[in-house]
Amino acid sequence: MEAGVIETGMVEAGGIDVRGLDFGYPGGEFRLRLGELRVAAGESVAVTGASGCGKTTLIHLLAGILEPRAGRVAVAGLDMTSLAVEDRQDLRALKIGLVFQELELLDYLDVLDNVLLPYRLTPVLELDAAARGRALELLARVGLGDKVRRPPGRLSQGERQRVAVCRALVTRPAVVLGDEPTGNLDPRNRDQVIDALLGYGREAGAPVVIVTHDHELLPRFDRTLEVGEPGAGAAG
């Protein structure tokens, strides 16, 4: 299938710019091709499509977790495909906030330590009083201000996902990516999580790209990208 082009307006330094993307797993038949995807700063995009069409793969490519065979993935003004693995990890820690449906919290750390985890895992981030303050503020904003010392095992599924959102946003990322972050949540918790992610995108001027199967959520996004559609991306 030919790569398509999706116009999303001006690509800014804080945006996402994908061109001529071609990805396939080694030894596998699955292929994902994407002619062009531009997401401007502060813009939100919902990614939809049938199961197995490559939505999660696209998020992983945007996050630099996977490396395309060909094409260019620029995030926050940096071409991920030209970076070494270690640099992509640093870029991910510094610039990208990731929320997954099953992005697990560590049961041996309390809520606050889970939110601050990126600071403990990457030497490029410094865990200082400002970071702690930001973590506490984020937790308070999602209604978990009184549970910062609780172990994740004593939280509800919705609360756990809100903690994961705080962890994704605590580094003030330039880009927010989500892979079905509301997949297991009831409507109330779902709305709280989406509010937090989209609200951050608007406030920080960060592009937000989120995979979702929930069609009720689509009107909340600026645009929708249907992976697998002719002219968008395809699994083959």
Partner: protein, 423 residues
């Protein structure tokens, strides 16, 4: 690094049960060979120290190990008695014949040496001879019959009182005084060797002349008496009322021209006092009286060699041993046993290490999702490995500290327990 340490320590603290089991099992497997090594070293040092301080020993032919252990640690030369009722019990079973053996005067483990050997060594001019008589005890504390020379030879200090000077007096080792609850001026009663042994070894009440300062050696547990006092306890000497005195007719069985035969009503003294001291006398030739070992202190090295040569001659009837050589043989045997135990410990250690490695490997597999999360958040592979390696390091460090603490404890306790083997 502090972040890696923080994450690793939080994980171990959260899984404290698993961590405790790992630390305990690794700690124990490190502790066992270490403690064995420490105890073996302390034991051999203690054994050797007292043996080195004792140049030569004389004793009856037989086991050199028995002679050495008896002389150095006052191990009783005889076996514990078995009540005669056991003979009847075996016979009554109808399953076997029971043949009793009474070996009190010829102990199977260490035969007596005649006292004349002490004089013979002294007469040679080559060495001092210090006799030891070890057959009796006072409520479990070994009565050591010897000469006052012994205290000087072992450099034993008095904490109270004075050395034994009169027949019947005793000097207590520090532990013996504590065990018997006695001090200077009290009396200690020797335990009878047999309740119905009419031939002698009746209980003798001994005044305590002195108490030794603790020495950390077998001397602490001894009740030191003059050799003649030990012979009194053995029944080789005794004192009784004067049957030749006027008014003692009731105790006379038969009066001959040159001797008086006393009857059973004659009162034997069980306590030696200034008033009855003169009535104590020996029956038989004191030169033939028994001693269990003789500590021989040569004048010089050459004198020692000459003496050893004399006693090595065929037909000498008495043997001379070098305690150091005997203990070296003993220690070599102990060390071969220790090495066998160490080999087993090594095997156990390898098995434990393999099990611990398996536990860690399975743990990593179970934590795969967590590790994937760390990588997605931005942790490098090296960082994740550092966290895992730090967890292992913390467990091994805690186990090593546990093993070191236990080994230190054992070395302290072992040192005090082995103290009685010291010089």
């Amino acid at each position: 690094m502090s972040d890696v340490l923080y994450l690793a320590s939080r994980y171990l603290r959260f899984h404290r049960g698993k961590t405790a089991v790992l630390v305990a099992s690794i700690g124990l497997i490190l502790f066992l060979p270490a403690a064995l090594q420490v105890l073996a070293r302390q034991g051999s040092q203690a054994l050797r120290a007292r043996a080195e301080a004792t140049p030569l020993l004389l004793g009856a032919p037989g086991s050199a190990v028995d002679l050495t252990l008896a002389a150095l640690y006052f191990r009783p030369p005889t076996r514990a008695a078995t009540p005669y009722r056991e003979v009847g019990r075996v016979a009554a079973s109808g399953l076997a014949r029971a043949i009793p053996l009474h070996l009190h005067f010829r102990p199977p483990t260490l035969a007596a040496t005649p006292y004349r050997e002490v004089g013979r060594v002294a007469a040679s001019g080559l060495a001092r001879a210090i006799p030891l008589h070890l057959r009796y005890d006072a409520r479990g504390q070994r009565i050591v019959g010897t000469t006052p020379d012994y205290l000087e030879f072992r450099r034993l200090e008095l904490a109270a009182g004075r050395r034994f000077a009169l027949l019947g007096e005793c000097v207590l080792g520090a532990d013996a005084a504590r065990a018997l609850g006695a001090t200077v001026g009290d009396h200690v009663l020797s335990s009878p060797a047999g309740a119905f042994d009419v031939a002698g070894s009746f209980p003798l009440e001994m005044p305590v002349a002195g108490v030794l300062a603790p020495s950390g050696t077998a001397d602490d547990e001894a009740v030191l008496v003059d050799l003649k006092t030990a012979w009194v306890i053995a029944g080789l000497a005794h004192g009784h009322m004067d049957v030749t005195a006027p008014g003692a007719e009731s105790g006379v069985l038969e009066r001959r021209e040159d001797e008086v035969v006393a009857n059973a009503s004659v009162l034997s003294y069980t306590r030696i006092t200034p008033e009855n001291l003169d009535s104590f006398h020996f029956h038989g030739d004191p030169d033939a009286f028994p001693v269990d070992a003789v500590v021989v202190v040569p004048r010089d090295r050459k004198s020692g060699v000459v003496l050893r040569g004399r006693y090595a001659e065929p037909g000498a009837g008495i043997r001379m041993v070098v305690p150091r050589a005997v203990v070296d043989d003993l220690v070599a045997t102990l060390f071969s046993v220790k090495n066998a135990i160490l080999a087993v410990s090594l095997g156990l250690g390898l098995a434990t290490a393999a099990t611990a490695a398996l536990v860690f490997a399975l743990s990593i597999r179970l934590r795969r999702r967590e590790l994937v999360t760390l990588r997605r958040i931005g942790a490098s592979r090296r960082r994740v490995r550092a966290v895992l390696a730090t967890e292992v390091l913390l467990v091994v460090t805690a186990a090593t500290l546990l093993a070191a603490g236990l080994t230190l404890l054992v070395s302290r306790l072992g040192a005090s327990a082995l103290g009685l083997l010291g010089s």
